[in-house]
Symmetry: C2
Subunit: 207 residues, 2 copies
């Protein structure tokens, strides 16, 4: 049973032309990001560059931060696919401890790699996109249930471990608006600490 | 070295009359809470009941939620005093693992006991008062450094453990606006899960 994750992805029942517009807007936004950084991506500039009406962009994303949230979710869909069906240890086939370590390390790497997008997505909102935080909780809970650690309440522990992963990431993304190199020191330290935490938790036998 | 906590407490250099007003307002707010619940505590009603001008109440607390934040901080000062100088295992004198377990259990109990105040303090703000969250991080870090667990980055681990404690508490306080009995099931489960997490983390020797 490897499927209790929140289904990410395209809105259900999206019409063909709406889908075409969405994909075109996201591809254009990515191109603009690569050329001029996040500052270059505004609602107006995106509409013009994509050759679509401003109304379409507003209906789709709501706010400028909404563009970045959509970019981040697009990446999160790819990440979720790897978790559900990719090679081990992130995907199925490895033990729960190994998968939990891999999940945290890749999740941290994901936000380090998408730092500019994540920061722009959080503009005027101090939370990371909920859908990814929920994915973390669901996945950690599934692996802890599978592991059968002998703790009193695996689901509460899952909540605590998910917070241990997501909380510092939130701080990492929201603090220090200065650019940091991908694979930054801070990200690596968090990844190592996560691995130490998980390995110790699993290594110590039942009471 | 048991003192790296954030100093909570009265504003520095508070004038004697300002202090008298603050204490009178907080005592009055507590009395109103006890008699009529949080709904009964409004800026106007508090000013009238305390026999002080509305301007004084506004200058002191800013918003209605500010009253509850002040009440919560008053309790947090007492809690911090117990952590710094109270009896073990919460206070000095016990080992780091025991103190960490006690800190989490008492911190959870503190929010369970102050649930109505904490909920009212979070009105229109999805964060718990930062000063207490900072206290948790500072204390966890101090105990992890003391414990010398042999992990690669004790300070990152401290950040993760602090998030593991505070994150689910934030959810606990902010979700389910319905009244819950003190010592609720959810609080107890979190406390047990915290204890299991800390004990396992400390029990497993170095790699």
């Amino acid at each position: 049973m490897d499927l209790p994750l929140v289904p990410l992805g395209k809105p259900r029942g999206e019409r063909a032309d709406a889908k075409r517009n969405r994909l075109r807007l996201l591809a254009t936004a990515r191109r603009m990001m690569a050329e001029g950084g996040p500052e270059s991506v505004t609602m107006d500039a995106l509409a013009e560059r994509a050759g679509l009406g401003k109304g379409t962009v507003f209906r789709r994303f709501g706010t400028r931060a909404g563009i970045f949230r959509a970019l981040l979710e697009e990446e999160a869909v790819r990440f979720q696919e790897l978790v559900l069906a990719g090679p081990p240890p992130l995907g199925p086939g490895a033990g729960p401890a190994e998968r939990l370590v891999a999940y945290g390390r890749v999740r941290i790497g994901f936000l380090v790699d998408n730092l500019e997008v994540a920061r722009a997505a959080m503009e005027r909102d101090s939370r990371l996109p909920a859908v990814q935080v929920d994915m973390t909780f669901a996945h950690v809970r599934m692996l802890l249930r599978q592991a059968d650690l002998g703790v009193r309440d695996p689901d509460s522990l899952a909540m605590q471990l998910a917070a241990a992963l997501e909380g510092p990431l939130l701080l990492y993304v929201s603090s220090g608006r200065d650019a940091e190199a991908p694979g930054s020191e801070a990200g690596l330290r968090l990844a190592d600490a996560w691995q130490d935490l998980v390995e110790r938790l699993f290594r110590s036998g039942p009471k």
